[in-house]
Symmetry: C2
Subunit: 219 residues, 2 copies
DNA sequence: GTCTATATCTGGATAGAC
DNA sequence: GTCTATCCAGATATAGAC
């Protein structure tokens, strides 16, 4: 994107007025600043001026690195969007009883989402309003659904899980994970740690699908 | 709020340019218009001009009936916010096995939320940004949590439910309901009806909490 | 490369005529 | 009561100096 300095010490351009962010790659600083602010206030509520201030730049300087606010958001989503997918794929390909794999999947997904610096629901709304600009996002999300559904399907076929609709069950599980993230972020209830919540949701998720008469307790 | 016309036929004020909304109480028309638009586009994305147009008024005329956009939102929340609470209270006071009552509660809550004309998550964000203005909202929401927790608590005490933390379990259940609403609204997946979804979530919710060895199927 | 300055646009809210 | 006209604030994005 931006020009790269080979090895010279001298910086290009007018010196910064004040550096609040890391003096490193401004692109990185901008993304970091935007992440934190988006997380704290919601994406739409954050102005480019705020992002700039936190990144140690003037407002307009951001436009040297990114062409728009949506462009900044896309850069962030690129980094973090693949985490749940990676978790699911791990659960899909690993061995062992379905219930254990499902349990691990939900637990890790909730934990990952809780650490995720955004309100996923807000992202969904923004992405829904600009389907073309977020085509990658939607594609990955669809794959996430499919992977989980496949896992549930496997469990139903093996008799470990009761005969639910795999697609419906998968979406419900993922929705529950996202919902957990949301109220955990908003409420910030200090009585429960992320681990408490993740553990509860994971056990509840598995047991909600377990076949009758199957005995299971978390490994 | 606004002056009431006793029985006279004559209307006050300058005639409307064009009436798109019901000719009834403009307050009602405004609320209805705002509800529909908020639901379709998200609250923050809707402008007062849009609301006015749909209500058959000019943009500024809204300010005769409401003092601000947030005021319109509050008027809407007043009407709909009590529905889940009513459902929960019914489940609390009615008789029968806990599992059945819980099942009915979740099912009806999901159905109510799916018909709810808003993204609850967006409301939470807005309300979080203006805690004073939405004090009533938060209070009712807290009561909702407490009621469900009390129901779970009763089930745990009676041995029908496994020994979960009632508060954590209650929040998880409600979060799942809200999450369901969200993806149902956004995704609009035509493969499943509201009833399909509500039925699945309700059964899953109950089974996720059922004590070991307890046999239960939906009534 | 980053700055200052500013164009442009949008949306909430007000003033006063009718 | 509703209108027209307008103010005002805040935000994105651009132009051009340094």
């Amino acid at each position: 994107m931006a020009a790269e300095e080979s090895t010279a010490i001298r910086r290009r351009g007018r010196p910064r007025k004040s550096q609040g962010g890391d003096d490193a790659d401004p692109r990185v600083a901008i993304v970091a600043a935007a992440s934190a602010l988006f997380a704290a206030q919601g994406i739409e509520a954050v102005t480019m001026a705020q992002v700039a201030e936190r990144a140690g730049l003037q407002q307009s300087s951001i436009y040297y690195w990114f062409r728009s606010k949506a462009d900044v958001l896309r850069a962030i989503l690129e980094d973090v969007n693949r985490i749940p997918l990676r978790i699911v794929e791990e659960a899909r390909t690993s061995g062992g009883p379905i219930a254990d794999r499902l349990h691990r999947l939900i637990r890790e997904d909730v934990l990952a989402l809780c650490r995720f610096p955004f309100d996923i629901n807000e992202i969904h709304r923004l992405a829904a309003g600009d389907p073309d600009g977020f085509a990658d996002y939607w594609e990955e999300r669809a794959r996430l659904d499919q992977e989980v559904a496949a896992l549930v399907s496997e469990g139903v076929a093996s008799g470990a899980l009761r005969p639910v609709d795999p697609v419906l069950a998968a979406r419900s599980l993922l929705a529950a994970d996202e919902a957990t993230q949301n109220w955990f972020r908003v409420g910030g209830d200090p009585d429960y740690t992320e681990e408490d919540v993740a553990a509860h949701v994971a056990v509840a998720g598995v047991r909600s699908l377990l076949a009758d008469g199957v005995d299971w307790t978390p490994a």
